[in-house]
Symmetry: C2
Subunit: 203 residues, 2 copies
């Protein structure tokens, strides 16, 4: 199910190119997966294709978006407005996929009265209030590692049930709360691993 967002983006690109129909083969090459795998993935959502023809791009896109939950708008808050928080606040990929950043928070007083990406940076103590007022259920943590667990606890206390964690720590949260972690350096490390292999084979 982690592949649905990938299909979704490829379909959006096809919509922009005014392509109305595509085969599993087309979508597979566009997303870099095996066509049989793609068909099996899609068949779990239902039979949205037509044999001998392919899939209706618009229709399939809507069906996947509905499955992922992107036909509704998700209010999101970002805590920790350092370099990364800055980048995330400005990231267009969130808004274009149905995520709306409703507030930026940072505990540091030097952010008082500053704006990032058109939103005021608000003091961290207002967390509960914001979450309640805007019915936020998804929070993003882009603080340093030391602060992350604290922020997570406060988020959970305020009623947030999904956390995207960019801080390099494992967060402990109560059952029922989802955490996903993104570590920008892990992918680089995987590349280095392969790079090292290449160097060993042909020294």
């Amino acid at each position: 199910m982690a592949r649905l967002p990938i299909y979704l983006r490829a379909l959006s690109a096809l919509v922009e190119d005014n392509i109305g129909t595509c085969s599993s083969e087309d979508l597979a090459t566009a997303t870099g997966v095996n066509s049989a795998k793609l068909r099996k993935d899609l068949s779990y959502l239902g039979s949205y294709g037509t044999r001998g023809v392919g899939y209706d791009v618009d229709y399939l896109r809507y069906q996947i978006a509905r499955e992922v939950g992107l036909t509704q708008d998700w209010p999101v808050i970002i805590v920790g407005i350092g370099n990364l928080g800055h980048a995330l606040a400005n990231y267009s990929g969130f808004r274009s996929r149905g995520f709306r950043v409703v507030a930026l928070l940072d505990a540091a007083p030097e952010f008082k009265d500053t704006e990032v990406a058109g939103l005021p940076v608000r003091p961290f103590v207002e967390l509960e209030e914001i979450v309640r007022a805007q019915s936020v259920s998804i929070g993003v943590i882009s603080t340093p590692a030391q602060a992350a667990q604290d922020v997570a606890d406060r988020m959970v206390g305020a009623g947030i049930t999904s956390i995207l964690n960019f801080a390099p720590t494992v967060l402990s949260v109560p059952e029922g709360v989802d955490v996903r972690k993104v570590d920008l350096s892990i992918e680089l490390q995987i590349l280095a691993y392969h790079e090292q292999r290449k160097a060993e084979v042909a020294p």
Copy 2:
């Protein structure tokens, strides 16, 4: 093998806490994996543990770092100095794991004579020269989607063999070149998916 970096970070945290030995159980809970899986992972690298005792934290860390290729220094360039490129240039997690950002590049003329994270932003046309001079084999792309394939082609032409792609496009590269893609919104979409499930169960 995608888990080795995770173990590595947990071990580094243990080193900082002056913990000399740990069991597979300890490391497993610290990283959130099953202890049997962890032992099996580590056994592929060799027998670095002691039965009845556990693993020597320092020794194990070195062995994993060597396996991943982090005992050497990897020069890295970043192309595309927007918000994300900015954040990446300043990201301490790269340097602390043996990656050295040796150059920042951007095609936009308004970056001329500016500095980011203590490095000058250089014109994109200098790519080949920089890659050759510094023996760079890893490149990071944080440009908009339209520019990404072009940048990748130029990188490959210049001799880069591993690319970390933050742009929302699938890159096509010749055999022998590794590409890994990071999409900051995919993780959010996965959270939204689970969030939607929760809402359906208890409406």
